[in-house]
């Protein structure tokens, strides 16, 4: 049995909040550079260059790359032989979010759904817990902005809709989202499971390094095909027209009910932020 103190967890979450918001991943920067080679629109090229510049300023000056520093979505992958001491896991994560958003000068963007009263410290956090054999403790923190989350959808297709039906839904979703989710986007697609797991699969798909194909070659082929279809829409960087609407389509899939074909599209803006740490 391995013991981990809640203060260790809170401190790790605090640092992840700050790092995720100020240090854009190399995978995303590489995707910008490759997009610059493909983009034909002068405005689109200009925007991509400025996004690279923006990431540099954020990293060197330690300020968030985007003012929407998001909802703190936290994935905790924990070994079942880990014993958390000193308090509760969820409280520890939220304390870390509280500290990170305060100390990192990050925006507090969480409010009551009706009164719109801000909670003031960016809590609650969204915590997804996965417990498996072992003594590991891994935290992934993915701040999710409102603009791209607003463009995301879940649908329950009929099994007859098949691959084509899922593709049509994905492409239509990107089309209708237009400029709103801050293209170039990453399109997370969750297929199968139930209503809520489809959404969770779509979100998890966004955590993969941008543009790394799915290990299943059939899904990897669908990712490439759907990315072409999405980019043929011509939406382009910031929706002002261009070749690069999305940097990648990432699919995650699991079995579903014989009556169902659940599909979720979780759109991620170009500020594709996530950081992880192992305790």
């Amino acid at each position: 049995m391995r013991e981990i103190h809640v203060d260790t967890i809170a401190s790790a979450v605090r640092d992840l909040c700050i790092r995720a918001n100020t240090e854009l991943g190399e995978d995303v920067l590489d995707a910008f550079r490759k997009a610059l080679e493909r983009e034909e629109s002068p405005a689109g090229k200009d925007i991509l260059q400025r996004l690279i510049q923006n990431a540099e300023i954020a990293r060197t000056e330690g300020i968030p790359m985007c003012q929407d520093t998001g909802f703190a979505v936290v994935f905790v992958d924990m070994g079942q032989d880990v014993h958390i001491v000193g308090g509760g896991l969820r409280e520890a994560v939220e304390e870390g979010v509280r500290q990170g958003y305060r100390d990192g000068y990050l925006r507090k963007s969480i409010c009551h759904p009706f009164t719109r009263q801000n909670t003031g410290d960016n809590t609650p956090a969204i915590v997804h817990l996965d417990v498996r054999p072992g003594e590991h403790f891994r935290i992934t923190l993915a701040p999710k902005g409102g603009g791209s989350e607003n463009m995301s959808r879940v649908t329950m297709l009929t099994p007859a809709a098949g691959i084509q039906g899922v593709k049509d839904f994905v492409v239509q979703r990107v089309k209708e989202s237009g400029p709103n989710p801050c293209p170039p986007t990453i399109v997370g697609v969750g297929i199968g499971g139930t209503f809520e797991t489809a959404a969770l699969l779509a979100k998890k798909a966004l955590l993969r390094p941008v543009g790394s194909p799915h290990p299943d070659p059939e899904l990897a082929a669908l990712e490439a095909d759907w990315l072409d279809a999405v980019n043929d829409l011509g939406i382009g960087p910031q929706g002002l027209g261009g070749r690069v609407t999305s940097l990648a389509v990432h699919i995650e899939m699991m079995p579903c009910h014989i009556a169902s074909l659940p599909v979720a599209v979780n759109i991620q803006c170009h500020a594709a932020r996530h950081k992880e740490t192992e305790l």
Partner: protein, 186 residues
């Protein structure tokens, strides 16, 4: 690309009428921040006939909720939020003298019609480039609704703040035209 046009707020109708979609503009002077909650309050004030926290005439509203300023800085990251959420309120503000809006994403027909009727312009800033855009903001002062936190109305002094004309007052829509130019689907 064409050279950018330098404009200083407040803007006159004649300034706006010269602009066409795709024009790159460097804004100087004062812009006011307002997003969802502040817009609701502004329009509520108009409906009850009470004075607004600032005079709308010729002004530009920037749809932004900046992140907190680090010590010694005027503002944190400050890129635009998505504009369609302000579509419900924008026509009334345009009617009362608002001359420009800065945001990201397309506007609805009611906003576009009000812009054409009263001579207003909609500028797109680069969404998600908040660290870059903050460099063009010289000062920031909360002038209303501090209790709204990031959604408070701020008076920003900007220098060469880079935007692009997304909707002009002649009915042009860069979002529609740009996408039409690059779409490959039938």
């Amino acid at each position: 690309m064409q050279d950018a046009v330098r404009l200083t707020t407040p803007l006159g109708r004649e300034d706006v009428e010269k602009l066409r979609i795709g024009d790159r503009v460097l804004l100087n002077g004062i812009v006011y921040t307002a997003r969802d909650a502040a817009h609701k309050r502004l329009v509520d004030l108009l409906h009850t006939g009470e004075p607004l926290p600032f005079d709308l005439e010729g002004q530009v509203i920037y749809y932004v909720g900046p992140s907190p300023a680090k010590p010694g800085r005027p503002v944190g990251a400050a890129g635009p939020t998505t504009s369609y959420r302000m579509d419900a309120y924008a026509p009334e503000l345009i009617q009362r003298g608002l001359r420009g809006m800065i945001g990201k994403g397309a506007r609805n027909d009611a906003v576009k019609a009000a812009m054409q009727e009263h001579g207003a312009v909609y500028f797109a800033a680069i969404g998600g480039a908040g660290a870059l855009m903050a460099q063009s903001i010289l000062s920031a002062e909360v002038i209303a609704y501090p209790e709204l936190g990031p959604e408070a109305i701020r008076r920003l002094e900007v220098k060469d703040f880079p935007v692009i004309v997304a909707n002009d007052c002649h009915g042009g829509d860069l979002y529609e035209e740009g996408v039409r130019r690059y779409a490959r689907t039938a």
